[in-house]
Symmetry: C2
């Protein structure tokens, strides 16, 4: 398990994930999570709206990491380069300390269809935010949509690889490889 800051929020998140992994998401209550680290249910709800939020915490910062990368791309850069910049920025968001948490989180999500739905929603929200950012840069549709969807797809495929057992490349390295694969795919045939 990754090293953690001693903050209450982080302790609750780590405890939640351990319980979700050990006994299932549905079977775990907020009170139980809090109790397992000597806190009250009330403290839990000061930090998280519900137990699901532990798994989907920080979506705004997640999306913002992509948008920062869009912003960082030079004006007039082709959409492909803007997407590459967004993926590099998002890659920095997922540092190595997060990898163990992300692996355990993924296993919990894969065991629960409602959580999978929430994960798909997260992907759709990312694509929508990227689409708006591409339009704001002056990229018209359908190029803006293609760029936004490619960013979301490449991130998702790279993320799946990043959390595989034994994988030790950074997320940014893997994402760059998947984006290169998109280029090869589109150029052949």
């Amino acid at each position: 398990m990754a090293r953690w800051q001693p903050g209450t929020r982080e302790r609750l998140a780590r405890a939640a994930l351990e319980l979700f992994s050990a006994q299932g998401f549905e079977q775990t209550t907020a009170a139980e999570i809090a109790r397992s680290v000597g806190l009250t249910e009330r403290t839990f709800f000061r930090h998280f709206a519900d137990k699901r939020e532990v798994l989907f915490d920080g979506q705004q910062s997640f999306t913002q990491a992509f948008l920062d990368g869009v912003e960082a791309a030079p004006p007039g850069a082709p959409p492909f380069e803007v997407v590459a910049s967004a993926l590099r920025s998002a890659g920095r968001f997922f540092d190595d300390e997060r990898r163990a948490f992300a692996r355990a989180r993924q296993a919990v999500i894969e065991a629960n269809p409602a959580l999978q739905e929430r994960e798909r929603h997260k992907r759709a929200a990312l694509a929508a935010a990227m689409h708006a950012a591409m339009l704001a840069r002056g990229t018209a549709d359908p190029a803006a949509s293609v760029a936004a969807e490619t960013a979301a797809t490449v991130f998702s495929l790279a993320f799946q690889q990043w959390i595989r057992p034994g994988e030790d490349r950074t997320l940014a390295q893997i994402a760059a490889g998947v984006l290169a694969e998109v280029r090869r795919f589109a150029a052949a045939g």
Copy 2:
């Protein structure tokens, strides 16, 4: 509204969509749908498991249309060409008679988050089926995933355009244009 075969199933589907559009999906019951065309609730449930299924009917044939296109691509064709073939095949599935139904259906789905989730699930299931088909052809990952996700994305973007008011190109024509845009996107920069 498109011309319909006189079958009971089709009458029920058309009646359901009219009621969903007029008064909302949540507010409409299966009994009401059946009654509006002089049938019983029991008859409704002989044709559809629930009222949601009216909107997501035929997913198997939908996915099969893509897989038929994969099958139709010559052995050894590059993944991009296999995807193009899948999209042409899927385009034939959505003939012009379906367009009015698809437009009304989309408006109902956009008004209801749970239906949007179901639609995202449909996209994910299509990508998974395409991924399996690409692997079965001997295309390895990450190329197989990139091809599968591109097929799902291009279809989805093309479909959104196909149902826009005033759009009269076929879905296959629009999808070919979006796929060409993917190629331009990946080649620039």
